[in-house]
């Protein structure tokens, strides 16, 4: 079977991480990774990027907006 080249592997990283490659393709992907330091590094950096995105804490609602919403909830739900 044709071996993957690096420029093909880098386009499959997200599908691979989603576990959505079919078995033979996943096998070829891992076979390439096993012998390619560059692609292994690329995958590691992709994972680090995703992990860091999950660690972001964007700003939340302004305090007075939050208070206003809680007060609206109280008024609305009050029997």
């Amino acid at each position: 079977m044709k071996r993957f080249t690096c420029d093909e592997v880098v386009e499959l990283v997200t599908v691979y991480m989603e576990g959505e490659l079919d078995e033979p393709t996943g096998y070829r992907f891992e076979e390439h990774l096993g012998g390619c330091e560059g692609c292994e590094r690329y995958l590691g950096q992709f994972r680090a990027t995703v992990a860091t995105l999950g660690d972001l804490r964007p700003d939340g609602l302004a305090g007075d907006t939050r208070e206003g919403l809680l007060s609206a909830f109280r008024d609305w739900r009050r029997p």
């Binding site: 080249t5 690096c6 420029d7 093909e8 880098v10 386009e11 990283v13 997200t14 599908v15 691979y16 991480m17 989603e18 576990g19 959505e20 490659l21 078995e23 996943g26 096998y27 992907f29 891992e30 390619c36 330091e37 560059g38 692609c39 590094r41 690329y42 590691g44 950096q45 992709f46 994972r47 680090a48 990027t49 995703v50 992990a51 860091t52 995105l53 999950g54 660690d55 972001l56 804490r57 964007p58 700003d59 939340g60 609602l61 302004a62 907006t65 939050r66 206003g68 919403l69 809680l70 609206a72 909830f73 109280r74 609305w76 739900r77 009050r78 029997p79």
Partner: protein, 227 residues
Amino acid sequence: MSQMSYQEETIVESFTGGRLPPDDVVVAALRAGDEAMFATLLDTWSRGMLWLARTHVSTNDSAEEIVQDTWLAVVRGIGGFEGRSSVKTWVYRILVNTAKKRGMRENRTVPWSSVFEQERPTVDRSRFQGVDDPLPGHWKELPAAWPTPEGEVLAAEVRGRIAAALAELPPRQRAVITLRDVEGCTSEEVCEILEISAANQRVLLHRARASVRGQLEDYFETARRSA
């Protein structure tokens, strides 16, 4: 039959969704006027909602108003919630519809589903060997190692750079990567919220992640040169 060896664990465990009780408990509590539950939802989802709203309008103030209007609609609508989707998807759908209306009023319409995602490569072709080189399609030079264990969360100062990289993404990519990787939504949830196909979601997510990784690569490269 054994597990496929390449199968990955879910990469990003939802850091927010995990704390919430099941939907039926959430809905019952809101209907009963449980303010603590409402506050929990506010604090859990509003950040992601603000980011998503911001892809439709031009200012943070407008985004904040969209999120506020969304929560008011949630309060008014929870009595009639029928459970045809998860609560989270329902809330985010209200947000997207509110944001679209608002975006149109601001004349900042984003051609949401009409944009054709080009099949261009996510890594510059010049990084790979050409047809006349010994190994066509393979790295010319390996990507430089990053100053952190691979797969680990990157240091705090890098996060500012990531936030900036997100802000520069095209709106659709930004919406998908925000929902998936920052908010921890599943791909199914993202498809429902944004009304896009699974294939489209995957393409947008991959492009977005590759862009952010590329920005980080530039950042580390610059840092190395000035060191």
